[in-house]
């Protein structure tokens, strides 16, 4: 529930919370009993209780916390580095149209290339370490951030910059007082996309090679035909993504508090 919808639809909020909770219970119940009722075997869709048991088993026997922490760490590091790189390149290219013109074919090619395809290459280069996974994550996070920052710098009304210059602002002041804050709304739109992509980047790296992380457990579960384990890993990967997305959404609410509520995305 976002702050915006809360303030807009105060009267129906209670009903919506109850409805949302009921739907969740209904979903769990359907997951528990519907497959059996429909004659679907547990190795296709394990019931929610089986998945829970598998989760507890993995905690004690498969170092689940360790693998989750490794994946989360890679996602966090890759996300932060990719975002920082994207911001720097976005501003640099945005301020230098000639550099963007020269580099645009390469940027476009890299943007279109499926970033996950680089995972095997990075594994060849860096071995079964955390680095290839972080690199794929950086690469996949980089583009939405860079493109949005670049677009924001381009879309800035030149008269605003002229206004600052008429007040005798130097280049640095124009950047910190005008260009940087003006790029915040598109930057956060890019961060939301990047947050959902970051987990994919790390996961693909882990699937391709290595013996740590949730991607490894996913491949391991698949090899064993342990469907419940695959379910557990999918849920945990989703949770990591949700945590990252929530951090971004929280930061966005703090930074973009000045926007009219209708202009903000619900979280």
């Amino acid at each position: 529930m976002s702050g915006a919808s809360r303030s807009l639809r105060q009267p129906g909020l209670r009903g919506m919370v109850v409805g949302s909770a009921l739907l969740f219970v209904a979903f769990l119940a359907a997951w528990q009993w519907l497959p059996t009722l429909c004659g679907i075997p547990p190795f296709i869709i394990p019931s929610v209780s089986l998945v829970w048991q598998e989760f507890l088993h993995m905690l004690t026997h498969d170092r689940l916390v360790f693998h989750t922490a490794i994946t989360a760490m890679q996602v966090g590091v890759g996300f932060i580095l990719g975002v920082m790189l994207g911001i720097v390149c976005g501003f640099a290219l945005g301020m230098s149209p000639s550099a963007e013109f020269v580099l645009s074919p390469y940027i476009l090619a890299l943007q279109i290339a499926p970033k996950v395809a680089f995972a095997p290459l990075f594994i060849i280069w860096f071995g079964y370490t955390v680095y290839p996974k972080i690199l794929v994550c950086i690469l996949i996070v980089f583009f939405p951030v860079m493109i949005n920052v670049l677009g924001a710098v381009r879309a800035l009304d030149p008269d605003i910059v002229r206004l600052a210059k008429s007040f005798t602002a130097n280049r640095l002041q124009v950047f910190w007082k005008i260009e940087f804050p003006a790029a915040m709304p598109p930057l956060f739109a890019g961060l939301r996309i990047a947050a959902t992509l970051a987990v994919i980047g790390v996961l693909v790296g882990e699937l391709v090679g290595g013996n740590i992380g949730l991607g490894y457990l996913l491949a391991f579960g698949e090899g064993e035909g342990n469907t419940a384990m695959v379910f557990v890993v999918i849920i945990l990967l989703t949770l990591i993504g949700i945590v990252l997305y929530s951090i971004v959404a929280f930061a966005e609410r703090r930074v973009l508090h000045y926007l009219p509520s209708r202009a903000r995305l619900p979280t």
Partner: protein, 269 residues
């Protein structure tokens, strides 16, 4: 108000501006558009001068050169006796767009210029609040621009322009985006403020009545390349009270004269 022996606040000496023509090809020969040609004008301390002319005649170009944002192609611009080569603290400009920064509150927006010029935060806050009070925006100092009406936003922009205490205000159709009544209220605010502070102003407008209501003198420009073809002294009192001045019987005569100079009737035919 007549120009005294005082040195002019702002002076254009035979100023010409040429732009590279983006649409010209090598075959068409010289790739230049002359926006403004041989413009000389001088505005005394405390004088308010309006500049009118057909669209695209280079009025805004003149203003940009006056503020030091664009270089002149030939001639010189002097402000307070200093040759203008780059943006300086003597001039501040105001446009049709309020250009308020959406991430700053109104008072923070008003402080922008002083902040850039390194005025201490306490000092600039005091002055900003004072100016906002004069602009009747005291209740809105902590609001964000999107929460204000167009007229209020433009009043905040005026406060921001005055906050850097410029000798000369350059205004490019500041009220043209406002509805007729808001416009009259803001003209009144501006007229009073200019009179109170004794500021010098160069005011671009398309609104002939506005030019008559606000200024001591009106300069009429020709089609591109823009030249000054006529200079009219507005010989009506109450420059500090545009609302009253509008009602003066002589306003109609001035407007008719300006219409004829601009060939408004021909454009309609």
């Amino acid at each position: 108000m007549t120009a005294t022996a005082n040195a002019p606040r702002i002076e254009f000496r035979d100023v010409t501006k040429r732009f590279a023509n983006p649409h010209s090809t090598a075959r068409q020969g010289n790739g230049f558009v002359v926006a403004v040609e041989g413009v000389s004008l001088s505005i005394a301390d405390g004088e308010v001068v309006s500049l009118i002319g057909p669209s695209g005649c280079g009025k805004s170009t003149l203003l940009n050169m006056g503020s030091g944002l664009d270089p002149v192609s030939a001639g010189e611009v002097h402000v307070d006796g200093e040759l203008v080569t780059k943006p300086n603290r003597h001039v501040a400009f105001m446009l049709q767009k309020d250009l308020l920064l959406p991430w700053r509150t109104i008072v923070e927006n008003v402080e922008l210029g002083q902040e850039i010029q390194g005025v201490s935060s306490r000092e600039r806050r005091t002055l900003a609040l004072e100016l906002l009070a004069k602009c009747r925006l005291t209740d809105f100092v902590d609001h964000y621009p999107h929460q204000l009406s167009g007229g209020m936003r433009q009043r905040a922009a005026l406060a921001r322009t005055l906050a850097v205490d410029p000798s000369v205000l350059l205004m490019d159709e500041p009220f043209s985006a406002l509805d007729a009544q808001t416009k009259m209220v803001l003209q009144q605010d501006l007229g009073r403020t200019l009179a109170d502070t004794g500021k010098t102003a160069l005011f671009i407008t398309h609104d002939l009545v506005e030019a008559v209501a606000l200024s001591d003198r009106i300069l009429v420009m020709s089609q591109r390349p823009g030249r000054i073809i006529e200079e009219i002294d507005v010989d009506i009192g109450d420059r500090d009270n545009p609302m009253k001045r509008r009602q003066h019987p002589k306003v109609g005569d001035y407007v008719v004269r300006l219409m004829n100079l601009l060939h408004v009737d021909q454009a309609a035919a």
